[in-house]
């Protein structure tokens, strides 16, 4: 079946991949352009990168985004994993349908609607309880709500395919259910947890629309700063900044993919060993 791909299909595949990658590669290329005119090539230079280091607005925004990213991905992995365990292990409980709906809906809900509704909630909460003030806290909460959905979907499929016999054996040997889970199943789903942490981090780092709605004065994340600059047109320092973010996200995604693939290979290997 491998050698029956028509040239037509290969051409379309190549065109599709070219469409996906050419803009990004050109952007990275032009970030090393010495000329401040974005369309003229004036020789190789890293001047725009050095300029970034001296831009306080960008540094502050980057630091805020990284802090938010770490808190969000940690919180999302915890909540998302609990939701995945609930859905996979407890077949029947009150609210199961509700939980299923709530972990799937954020994946398809247009960001602008999620953002608006959450902003209205935060404003009403602030009015009623005096908490939370818009900024770091509200962005973290809003991001966890959609990132944990991605975590649940990733961990859910891994958990469903995990072998339960080890866990049952541990329980037969006298371990409590929690202890047995931590000793046997948790190591098996650890790669899925690590990769969903990385993916949540990239989702949080990239988000513009939801952050813009729920953020308050003085808390501008990196995408918000980039957006306000991009609206004014293409500029070389944004090229440099965009290239850095794209590379960081790329490394996270590649590493996450690597973790998942290694775990999958290990699982196949273990299964083969077990069959012998």
């Amino acid at each position: 079946m491998e050698n029956r791909i028509s040239p037509f299909l290969i051409t379309i595949l190549c065109i599709g991949i070219a469409i996906l990658y050419i803009p990004i590669l050109v952007l990275i290329g032009y970030s090393f352009n010495a000329s401040s005119l974005v369309s003229v090539w004036g020789g190789f230079s890293t001047a725009w990168y050095t300029q970034l280091v001296h831009n306080d607005q960008i540094l502050d925004a980057a630091w805020l985004s990284l802090k938010i990213g770490v808190v969000v991905s940690t919180g999302s992995v915890i909540l998302g994993t609990l939701a995945a365990i609930s859905l996979v292990r407890f077949k029947i409980f009150r609210g199961r349908l509700l939980l299923t709906g709530m972990v799937n809906a954020p994946l398809v809900m247009p960001e602008i609607i999620t953002g608006i509704t959450q902003l209205l909630l935060f404003i009403s909460m602030l009015h009623l309880f005096g908490w939370p003030h818009r900024g770091f806290t509200t962005i973290v909460i809003a991001h966890i709500a959609f990132c944990s959905a991605y975590v649940t979907v990733t961990v859910q499929s891994r958990l469903a395919s995990a072998d339960r016999s080890l866990e049952e054996a541990a329980m037969d040997l006298g371990s409590g259910p929690v202890r047995a889970f931590i000793d046997t199943t948790l190591p098996a789903i650890a790669p899925a947890l690590a990769s969903s942490w990385l993916l949540s981090f990239t989702l949080s780092l990239d988000d513009l629309v939801i952050s813009s709605f729920v953020s308050g004065p003085g808390a501008s994340t990196l995408p918000m700063v980039i957006f306000s600059k991009v609206k004014l047109g293409v500029s070389p320092d944004v090229n440099a900044l965009a290239s850095l973010v794209i590379c960081l996200v790329g490394v996270c995604v590649l590493f996450a993919g690597h973790l998942m693939r290694r775990a999958e290979r290990q699982r196949v290997l273990d299964a083969q060993m077990a069959e012998r």
């Binding site: 299909l9 990658y21 407890f90 809906a105």
Partner: protein, 315 residues
């Protein structure tokens, strides 16, 4: 005496035993409740707030709308529902037009994504397992990369002095630069470029599982390849087609970044209207009404997606 000691020991173990018994019966709620409550409060209940605010009036205060529930001094609770915001959506044609325009844009971009994504997914599904994982990674990488940055990167290609115009001018195919930025074409290009991976991935997932013996059987029975495709491959890959189309269609309707950065003043999509209503006019009740009306119209496509998605997960 001995019985007293026994009772004492029993009394001391009782709380522990009771705790264990309670944990055994109710312990699962310690796992279920945190995500359930978090999502309930911070994802589902906000929709309720949006709904209630859509029935409120604008007011010059913080927050800038009236309460729909009020308690009079004699402890009567008054519910004031203001339908004016929804009526306003029908009287001011900008909402209807922008919604129809978003629908049209999303529909045609989804079709183009499907036309481009289907052969891509089909080609990837036909390669060997090791090539597959590399190609999938190539598709997944832009899927996770920032939309904002990718749209910005596209601007670098299609603007007047961008790579596309420079190349076409150099090749002598055009005399003067094409105006793509701030046009409808730019919005389409932006959506297709941004959402193509969302189409390819679910399509690949179904095409990969396709039973090849069915194709061989059709070929053995004398069916030409195009016929086999229409009779066998296409119907079997329908779940992927629907899932991929909805994953492009639903977010594309609500798209804000692409029409704002690439489109012109004519490309008034609903996401842009919502944004302006919130940050420009600060008319939150009307904006909530727009959001609720928009959501109601999305329920169909979302339900369709969920239906095919769960079916695919089960198989």
């Amino acid at each position: 005496m001995t019985s007293a000691i026994r009772d004492d020991a029993l009394a001391r173990t009782l709380p522990r035993a009771a705790l264990e018994e309670w944990l055994r019966r109710k312990g699962k709620w310690l796992i279920i409740l945190p995500p359930l409550l978090f999502l309930l409060v911070f994802f589902l209940i906000p929709f309720g707030f949006a709904l209630s605010i859509s029935f409120a009036d604008t007011a010059l205060r913080v927050p800038p709308f009236t309460d729909i529930l009020s308690v009079s001094p004699d402890w009567h609770i008054h519910l004031t529902l203001n339908l004016g915001n929804f009526k306003y959506l029908f009287t001011d044609e900008v909402y209807g037009l922008s919604y129809l325009y978003s629908l049209k844009t999303a529909f045609f971009s989804t079709l183009i994504c499907l036309a481009l994504g289907y052969p891509m997914a089909y080609a990837i599904a036909r390669t060997s397992k090791s090539t597959q994982s590399v190609l999938l990674l190539i598709i997944i990488l832009p899927f996770w990369t920032s939309f904002l940055l990718r749209v910005y990167a596209l601007e670098g290609i299609i603007r007047e002095t961008g790579l596309l115009n420079t190349a076409l001018l150099w090749l002598g195919m055009i005399d003067h630069p094409l105006q793509i930025m701030r046009t409808t074409l730019a919005v389409y290009l932006g959506i297709i470029y941004s959402y193509l991976p969302f189409m390819v991935l679910p399509l690949f997932a179904t095409l990969e599982k396709l039973d090849h013996s069915l194709l061989e059987a059709a070929a053995d029975l004398g069916s030409p390849p195009w016929r086999t495709f229409i009779d066998v491959t296409l119907p079997l890959s329908m779940p992927g087609v629907i899932a991929g189309s909805m994953l492009v269609f639903i977010p594309a309707i609500g798209e804000f970044v692409i029409p704002t950065l690439l489109g012109g003043p004519d490309n008034l999509m609903i996401g842009r209207v919502l944004w302006d209503e919130f940050f420009g006019n600060r008319d939150w009740p009307v904006a909530s009404a727009v959001a609720i009306a928009f959501l109601v119209l999305l329920v169909g496509p979302i339900a369709l997606y969920q239906h095919y998605n769960t079916k695919q997960l089960e198989s």
